[in-house]
Symmetry: C2
Subunit: 348 residues, 2 copies
Amino acid sequence: MKSRRTARKSSPGAGQKVTLGMVATACGVSPSTVSRILNGTAVVSPEKRAAVDRAIAELGFIPNPIARGLAGGRTLSIGVITQVIDSPFYGVALRGIEEELIKVGYSPLFVSGHWNAAEEARCIDVLRSRHVDGIIVLTGRLSDEALASLARSLPVVVTGRRLEAPGLYSLDFNNFEGARLATRHLIEQGHRRIAHIAGPTLHPDAVDRLAGYRAALKDAGLRYEPGLLLQGAYHEASGLQAVEQLLTSGKPFTGIFAANDQMAFGAALALHRHGLRVPDDVSLVGFDDLQGAAHSIPPLSTIHHPAYEMGLLAAGALMELLAGRKPSAELPEPRLIARGSTGPLGPG
Amino acid sequence: MKSRRTARKSSPGAGQKVTLGMVATACGVSPSTVSRILNGTAVVSPEKRAAVDRAIAELGFIPNPIARGLAGGRTLSIGVITQVIDSPFYGVALRGIEEELIKVGYSPLFVSGHWNAAEEARCIDVLRSRHVDGIIVLTGRLSDEALASLARSLPVVVTGRRLEAPGLYSLDFNNFEGARLATRHLIEQGHRRIAHIAGPTLHPDAVDRLAGYRAALKDAGLRYEPGLLLQGAYHEASGLQAVEQLLTSGKPFTGIFAANDQMAFGAALALHRHGLRVPDDVSLVGFDDLQGAAHSIPPLSTIHHPAYEMGLLAAGALMELLAGRKPSAELPEPRLIARGSTGPLGPG
DNA sequence: TTGTACGCGTTATCAT
DNA sequence: ATGATAACGCGTACAA
């Protein structure tokens, strides 16, 4: 008696739930066959396949991800570990991930690690308990070992670092080159005394950006001056404070390279408060090319970070991993976006 | 033979998976008892409860949300329909939702509707197929009827509109009052010719803000002038364009109230391009109090929108709904944040 | 109060 | 190539 399943369908208030079993009985085949067709697990006769495909369309059958997950199969969901869900920078990457994933029928599961290894570990537990098919980690504080270990049981794509491990693909941006570009831009405008507001030393990208700054100085035969190096924390307030500190120190400078746009905004505000005009008195370059950079006053010259593409590529790479292939995606090279916050060194 | 389950546990490579059945056998009770204790479904003897609780802790048992969902129970996940995952405004609300949900053991499932009713409907399908326990809708374009209908099968909390329906709770912000506050602030500074850059008429909040603007004008005995009303689209470029248009029209004005901060930023840039200083020549007020508002140049006077609290409250209200109680949360009243972009009308 | 047995919708492993 | 059957881990009537 296979009428048991169908009986449920016609029960009042059953709503629109169409199950795999229902399409099976609808076209007189076994559930296994339907499953096979859905997953391409085995070869089935063209006639049956056609009949089933039609039934699926007609009944509007949608596979139940929950049941799939339970049965040990795929859940069609991907865990995404971000740091803060409302980060102006990572937000764009999330959008890229979401778009690419949806296109291929997957759903992202966003969780926030808050720049905290312990919390990220908890995030991983959550994701595992939800049986995600793979995980994308946006930078974060997890150790390389932890990531490699995770990758042994689940395909993993990580951004913000370069790391080789089985089952893992890393997607890194050339922060060093970007910083060099930013600094060189200032140098080319005639600036010689260029300050740098660095990001937290715990962030590898901040370290790379600092290195790029120093490399550009060196390339141009300029001396690196510790007094022109300020420590920031990647947020506006720290950029503001850094400039206050710089101004207080009395060290002369005509250009500032901030390790990210948020600190550049803070820096601009500090300069404004002190009556210093950008770019007439001080030229300013940021890094990331946030959405707001184009509309700040003046519009911020910066290094474009392809966060959106990064999301797209990360998701794509994970799909490759899932398919058993080796991803080969690479991020585009950094690009300088020259806007109004930088200009030639004036006669002053 | 109950050894079947336990046998699987000791199988090589089984990893750390601890199941409900395992804790059951571990303390010599039936799985149902454990389940009951977990869900508080029925009363169990204190001894058993203690034993089970201890076993759960010792084995580190974590209920499998997938299995729970399949069995028809709760999945401990809440669907959140936002519009764009990287919106500077809604992002903050998402953070609030996430925080509150995590605190009580739930996980958010974010999906983006892109201001499109059809896409939002698809989002709902995805969320339902994933058996979420409830749904939070951040504004969006779904009709009130669609929402009410959804609420018949699932608890729903919706923000950005006022709507009464069984199983549904709405959390609305007083946009009208906020806009009135913003406009009045300008008026109190002596401004008489105040332009308004409105948001898309499809957004109810934009309509309310426009109404608030007109109400404030009326309160002060000021005439509403159609020529000072510009149509924007809630993004920077539209704010910029609106001011360009205003300037071209030649209509005199000394104050601008933009319906959101993003348009205010664009407006500020347009003024800057034309050599008009803020607030010396033109005072500018925004709406929302985005993260960047405090660090723009000059810092933007604006109406604080409690987006974070809104997220917190929305999640809390959904928990109430889930518990069968009637939520009563209300959003705080709008608050004016006076910063540098507004000042008394000069002698000019 | 507690245990048994079944079902949730799908995949995987055997048979055939 | 296809079908029957047994999991997957849990909730829940129903029975005891």
